[in-house]
């Protein structure tokens, strides 16, 4: 049982590592802001899975996993949701004010370009 639990925990830990990489790439490199936010959520899911693997490894006393990391994940999931909500509110506001939904340097980035052009 414990060998399988350990293997399964490591498997999900590795899955979490992969998701962190994928999410991070999406956040850093994706040109679309909304997609970057989805990337954030994938990154978060990966991080939480690493916590999950840690928790599963710590199974003891008849519990299937260590409850402390599980509780942290629950807190983290809610915080990540709030972050997504705030980001989306900002994004929608940006879109309705400027008509663009990107921050990438190729499109005119308001404040800095304004400062530069005055220079």
């Amino acid at each position: 049982m414990s060998a399988i639990a350990l293997t399964s925990a490591s498997l999900f830990g590795l899955c979490g590592s992969a998701l962190v990489g994928i999410g991070l790439f999406c956040v850093i490199a994706h040109p679309e802001l909304l997609r970057r936010l989805v990337g954030f959520n994938i990154l978060g899911a990966g991080i939480f899975l690493v916590f999950g693997a840690v928790s599963r490894r710590g199974a003891a006393m008849g519990l299937g996993g260590d409850p402390v990391p599980q509780a942290m994940v629950i807190t983290g999931v809610v915080v990540a949701f709030a972050a997504t909500a705030l980001a989306i509110a900002l994004l929608r506001r940006l879109a309705s004010l400027t008509g663009t939904a990107t921050l990438d340097p190729t499109s005119p980035e308001p404040s800095e370009t304004a400062a530069r052009s005055e220079a």
Partner: protein, 310 residues
């Protein structure tokens, strides 16, 4: 057999995540993300974390999906351009992220044996709380200050979202109902919420002793409320309403008060007198559930966009 199951699950998760990143159209990526959330719920079950599975299924599969779909619809109606392509030098971040994954994988595999765990301590101390679910004990007793401050985080996020309204609409209501509401949606919004509320009540109730609890229940309540708003059965409340604000603040405020009470009658801030620990925790959970439900639903609704009625 169960390892095969896990491998299938993990491959599904990674495939969906990749699709989200490289997929051409935005809406498809979001739908894939919702599916990702569902699979993630299953993954948490496999990790023997039912409480997390409930939270993930509710938030990842439900509310976040709605939030993203709503934003996507809004943005698509404004900026109808083709998806911009990746920058030419995408290899550099890809290499960097690959390195992060490798390092992380190495760290995960190098964890010590036997694994350190607080399960023993958590179980040993649980009698003082009167609870049966160790995760709830962590959330509301051992690490109660995390949970309490996380409620403040939610409220700050909500204030942040509200502050993005215009000066006119400040204090007003946000508007969710689409111009045309399909008939089945109205039907769903009439029939589903009673079930949802029942399940939420059940979740809070069992949360003390079995998987479930305030976040899960709050999320379900939020989803049901949003469904009603979406179908236009009720209008969203004006954000300046004292009753609404009272509901949002009551949970955390009660939490703080009980915490301070602990200074006087128990062993300090956020410690409960053992004799009444469980009832106190359940009362806090009920109040928090309402606050969480309200806050999450309002976070999804977004900033007010209608001026308050005089």
């Amino acid at each position: 057999m169960s390892l095969v199951f896990d491998i299938a699950l993990v491959s599904g998760l990674i495939a969906l995540a990749l699709h989200v990143v490289v997929g051409r159209d935005g809406k498809g990526a979001i739908v894939a993300f919702i599916a990702f959330g569902l699979l993630l719920g299953l993954a948490w079950v496999r990790l023997a974390a039912i409480d997390v599975a409930l939270t993930e299924a509710a938030i990842g599969g439900g509310l976040t999906g709605m939030l993203l779909l709503k934003a996507q619809a809004h943005l698509a109606s404004r900026a109808s351009r083709a998806t911009p392509a990746f920058e030419r030098n995408w290899h550099v971040p890809a290499l960097f992220c690959g390195a992060v994954t490798l390092g992380l994988g190495y760290a995960v595999l190098s964890f010590p044996h036997p694994a350190p765990s607080l399960a023993r301590e958590a179980v040993a101390a649980i009698d003082a709380t009167g609870l049966g679910n160790p995760v709830t004990a962590v959330l509301l007793a051992y690490r109660a200050i995390d949970t309490l401050l996380e409620k403040i985080v939610l409220i700050l996020a909500l204030i942040g979202v509200w502050s993005l309204s215009t000066d006119n609409a400040w204090g007003g209501a946000s508007y969710l109902r689409p111009a045309m509401v399909p008939e089945p949606l109205i039907f769903l919004a009439r029939v589903l919420p009673p079930f949802g509320v029942l399940i939420a009540v059940y979740q809070v109730w069992v949360g003390a002793d079995a998987p479930g609890g305030t976040f899960q229940a709050g999320t379900i309540l939020a989803a049901m409320w949003l469904l009603v708003l979406l179908a236009g059965l009720r209008a969203a409340p004006e954000t300046r309403l004292p009753t609404l604000r009272m509901m949002l603040a009551a949970g955390p405020a009660l939490f703080i008060l009980v915490g301070l009470m602990g200074v006087a009658v128990a062993e300090g801030f956020l410690s409960y007198p053992p004799a009444i620990a469980k009832p106190l925790i359940v009362v806090i959970e009920v109040a928090l559930t309402l606050a969480v439900g309200g806050t999450l639903a309002l976070l999804v609704s977004g900033p007010p966009d209608r001026a308050p009625k005089p």
